[in-house]
Amino acid sequence: MRTEYDVVVVGAGPAGTTTARFIAGQGVSVLVLEKDRDVGYPVRCGEAVSRAGVEEFITPDDKWISAKINKFSMIAPNGEEVILPLEEEGFILERKIFDYVLGQKAVEAGAEILTRAYVHGLIFDGGKVAGVKFTHIGEEKEIHSKIVIGADGVESRVGRWAGLKTYVDFREMESAVQVTVGGLNDIRQDTCYFYFGQEYAPEGYLWVFPKGNNSANIGLGVSGNIGKKRSALSFLNYFLEKNYPNAGILTQVAGGVPCTITLEKITAPGLMLVGDAARQVNPLSGGGIISGMIGGKIAGKIAARAVKENKPELISLYEKEWDERLGRRHRNFDRIKDGIYNFSDEKFNSIARAFNKVPMEKRTLGNLFKTALIHNPSLLVDVAKVFVIKN
């Protein structure tokens, strides 16, 4: 390890290692600092992605795919099930391995990764971020760099230290808890299940995602609004006791999902933010793996160019490029989320009843949202933008 790199990335999740891979691929030196001892662990994620999303970055490989998904099952508060065949295949990942393989890709491209490296401050030079201060296995260290990239997740502090307002409104933070459960014989391994309604998941959804070998991720998130009164853990325990009282729990993990639009500023002089740290999460689904990797790819390419051309100001291009690729789309999703967020149980039940009359071959996610928002015409425009006009 040197004391100077062109770029330092803080955090070795999918966004961080993807950023590093695209920087190193341009022959620019990059070091990734990870506070935990492993890349890819602990996994704080439901692990669902689309095949197409993954394929932009890596060829699908069964060693990190737990299950292949071809339909959604949405369960209304009264128990009525709506089956939605998917137009695109989905995967439930084994992120422990997936994240690790992404780390390998970055290293193969020429990046360096250092684990057990806890970044606790930035170095400034004339008002510009010029490096990081960190503790590595008990030893204080400093690295100077032309650019620092914060990929430090939902708990991001790197942006704050550079003066960006990065904290999430507690009402938009989905505080989640998930168990991986074994011995489930009655769930289909090709289906993602979503439960809606006040009983199981007010202002959100509860998910059951298959993990192969009769196991599944079962989890839910609640916003701080709900969390004031009752925790995510208490909702999850209630669901498990009612539906899977004899479930064998293999692991339990907590995590936060910033279900909000991207931060207004994701760059500052010498600094860029990617992934959950930039709030590059689909606010409707809470999905952030692929969108974080897309953010990382855009940021990585621009950072490499800024270094190679010795034009630090180029990093501001990242904001516009991200906005055109996904930021704008996330604002649409956010408006749709606001529209359906407060639906009553009766409303969910009536949507399920109406959509179950649609013949199977005509069912699409876009049609489902149209059914859901039929009495809310202003939002139909947002639905059309997201689901009908594909980019």
């Binding site: 704080r44 808890v177 609004n225 925790s231």
Partner: protein, 71 residues
């Protein structure tokens, strides 16, 4: 005075509380969490956002402080 209490043994170190803290008062390492009393304003947003009930707002202590201030 700090009125937010952490039970570190319960903590999963997930970072929800850090993400919602407006004051940057919470420090999270791989398996270590602390609140900086000098920065914390006792707003309780971290308490509401903790998925697994690790953080609590100490109401009795808050009432004591209030009473003491009255005297």
């Amino acid at each position: 005075m700090l009125l937010i209490e952490i039970t570190p043994d319960k903590c999963d170190f997930c970072g929800c509380c850090v993400g919602v803290c407006p004051e940057d008062a919470i420090e999270l390492k791989e398996a270590e969490i602390t609140i900086d009393e000098k920065l914390c304003t006792n707003c309780a947003k971290c308490v509401w956002s903790c998925p697994i009930e690790v953080l609590q707002f100490n109401k009795e202590k808050a009432a004591e402080v209030k009473n003491a201030n009255r005297v």
